[in-house]
């Protein structure tokens, strides 16, 4: 067990290094001179040269990379070209809306998708199964910004039940916070629900054909305990895996959802940074999201041994 944890921790190091290298090279993928790019169109040659020296662009690539990595590890992601503020400060200011949106989305998705998948598996081939599968296909097909506008138009503009756009911090009360966040979270959860419901159904169908399920039924257990206690527990490993992998969809979706609902989160930050070509901010956000994604999946891998004692490494 301990060796597994160590091995798994060690295996994330090359992945993290790859992410760092990718994020660092972004600036150099851009056509032309990065210093001229940062200086802008009206800069003189001396200004460009000054920026080149400040960025250390006169040094070889690997020295710059190691220097940048050292700063990043200490939590220094550079300074925004546009606002001259540290990137970590900018991200810190925007973290609450994004985290709240994602957390609420995960809660909604799991609460809806898992029962959906279980129901579909228990009624395999019947109409309830077909409906669940059809809903899943639609969830995969309708992009998050389309669902977002649709929900906002129906519930905020037509029915006037919820605010159209914006964000209220949690500190200003839970009700307004939830009122602003519920539509974006539902929009974002559509594709996630489709993903989780589908894998829950598949995994449950596999488990339901096992002998111990027949035994459980034979000893007189009802449908409820069989499905949700005996079967779901044993079907949980693929479900949890997909919840982890799906975080990637969630991160991409959050960037778009925050644009639709005008939520001042990290996604909105990166979209504004793209329009302004603010590279340090783009690098910082990509690095943060990717590292978070890797760490979440690492945590889930370590969780397997708890969920399923049969898993031995």
């Amino acid at each position: 067990m301990l060796t597994f944890v160590c091995r798994r921790l060690l295996s994330t190091i090359p992945v993290m290094l790859f992410i760092a290298l990718f994020v660092f090279s972004l600036l150099y993928l851009a056509p032309g001179d990065p210093a001229a790019l940062i200086a802008g169109d009206q800069a003189s040659q001396t200004e460009i040269d000054a920026i080149r020296v400040t960025l250390g662009l006169d040094q070889p690539f690997y020295i710059r990379f190691v220097g940048w990595l050292g700063h990043a590890l200490r939590g220094d992601l550079g300074v925004s070209i546009f606002s001259q503020l540290p990137v970590t400060t900018l991200i810190g200011q925007r973290l609450e809306p994004t985290l709240s949106l994602m957390l609420l989305t995960v809660i909604i998705s799991v609460c809806i998708a898992v029962p959906m998948g279980v129901l579909a598996a228990a009624n395999q081939g019947r109409w309830i199964d077909r409906i669940v599968m059809a809903v899943a296909v639609f969830g995969f097909s309708v992009p998050v910004f389309v669902v977002g506008y649709l929900l906002s138009w129906v519930f905020a503009i037509r029915l006037d039940l919820l605010p159209v756009q914006g964000y209220t911090p949690l500190a200003e009360g839970f009700a307004p916070f939830l009122a602003n966040l519920i539509l974006p979270a539902i929009a974002l959860s559509c594709v996630y629900i489709a993903l989780i419901a589908r894998i829950t159904r598949t995994s449950m169908i596999d488990v339901l054909s096992q002998d111990y399920i027949r035994t459980a039924r034979a000893k007189g257990l009802g449908q409820g305990p069989v499905l949700f206690i005996h079967a779901l527990k044993n079907a949980s490993v693929p479900i949890v895996t997909v919840i982890g992998i799906g975080i990637a969809l969630l991160i991409g979706g959050a960037v778009v959802t925050e644009t639709v609902f005008a939520i001042p989160g990290v996604g909105r930050l990166v979209v504004d940074a793209i329009l302004r070509r603010d590279y340090p901010v783009i690098q910082g956000v990509v690095l943060l999201f990717s590292v978070a994604y890797v760490l979440i999946n690492l945590a889930i891998d370590l969780l397997y041994t708890v969920l399923d004692p049969r898993v031995r490494y």
Partner: protein, 296 residues
């Protein structure tokens, strides 16, 4: 005489179904392929014949006619510059379909080359798969956004960026298929009879991986269409000079509370096209592997 009796014999053994009956059977067995393929075919027709379907120039700015609601003259209304939305949506089909198909082809090619190499050569396996792990650790849309921010907006760059974001999944799939096919007796036979590895890959392994690869390629196609639209929607994709569904929605964003139709029409076309590709993919999966289909 002999010929005649032969004909009768075959006629009795295989009663030739009337053509309409066969088509009906195919529709009944594979409704998703027919529905998905049908919608997709319609979209391809719209994209190919855009200049005959959309009679008004999609780039023609007419300030006097701006923000018109849908009418007989402007079927989908006009945008804030007075451009005909119907024309723009029709031309937008070109970008979505081009990006979807091109990414499916590019990502499949990249995935095949790397996946076959990793599956066939143990030494390459480690290197290639760690590289794929790295690429897959960056969420696809974020990877595409980052690349687009670096290289700038053009249709070619969009295709390239999404292909890079999508191909690692294909690579993993191909590698997995190769590893399981390698264990088959006929590969041992080919090795024993002296075939070279490249020849074994092309002649014996590749043909047996085509089914799952085709299914995966359709899913990549639909993911690419959504990603392209998302990129254009946040202003990091197709340049504004080319009408694309995501781009039109981006332009309609400011007015959508009073003019929701600017966003509605491209949204419907986009969702319908992606749905068609997904239905086609599901249908292909069921048709190619009926055993797995009953489970998944």
């Amino acid at each position: 005489m002999t010929i005649k009796s032969n004909m009768i014999a075959t006629g009795d053994l295989f009663p030739s179904e009337p053509r309409r009956g066969r088509v009906a059977t195919f529709v009944r067995r594979h409704p998703t392929i027919v529905a998905g393929g049908g919608i997709l075919f319609l979209m391809v027709l719209i994209a190919v014949f855009a200049q005959w379907i959309a009679t008004i120039d999609p780039d023609k700015i007419a300030p006097i006619k701006r923000n018109r609601e849908p009418t007989a003259e402007f079927w989908f209304g006009t945008d804030m510059l007075g451009r005909d939305l119907f024309s723009r949506v029709v031309y937008g089909a070109r970008v979505s379909l081009l990006v979807g198909f091109a990414v499916a082809v590019c990502a499949t090619f990249l995935g095949l080359v790397t996946g076959l190499a990793a599956g066939a050569y143990r030494r390459l396996d480690m290197v290639i798969m760690r590289l794929m792990d790295g690429l897959m650790s960056v969420p696809p849309i974020l990877l595409a956004i980052a690349l687009m921010a670096a290289v700038g907006g053009s249709v070619f760059n969009v295709i390239l960026a999404i292909s890079i974001a999508e191909f690692p999944r294909m690579s993993r799939l191909v590698r997995g298929l190769v590893l399981s096919i390698r264990e088959q007796a006929y590969i041992d036979g080919a090795i024993a009879s002296g075939s070279s590895m490249p020849k074994i890959i092309v002649k014996h392994i590749l043909p047996n991986t085509l089914g799952p690869i085709m299914v995966q390629a359709t899913y990549i196609c639909s993911a690419a269409m959504i990603t392209e639209a998302a990129l254009s929607f946040i202003g990091a994709g197709t340049p504004p000079s080319i009408p694309s569904w995501g781009g039109i929605m981006n332009e309609g964003r400011m007015l959508w509370q009073i003019k929701p139709y600017i966003i509605l029409f491209p949204a419907v076309f986009l969702s319908l096209t992606v749905l068609a590709v997904n239905l086609l993919g599901d249908g292909l999966r069921d048709a190619l592997d009926p055993r797995a289909a009953s489970r998944i």
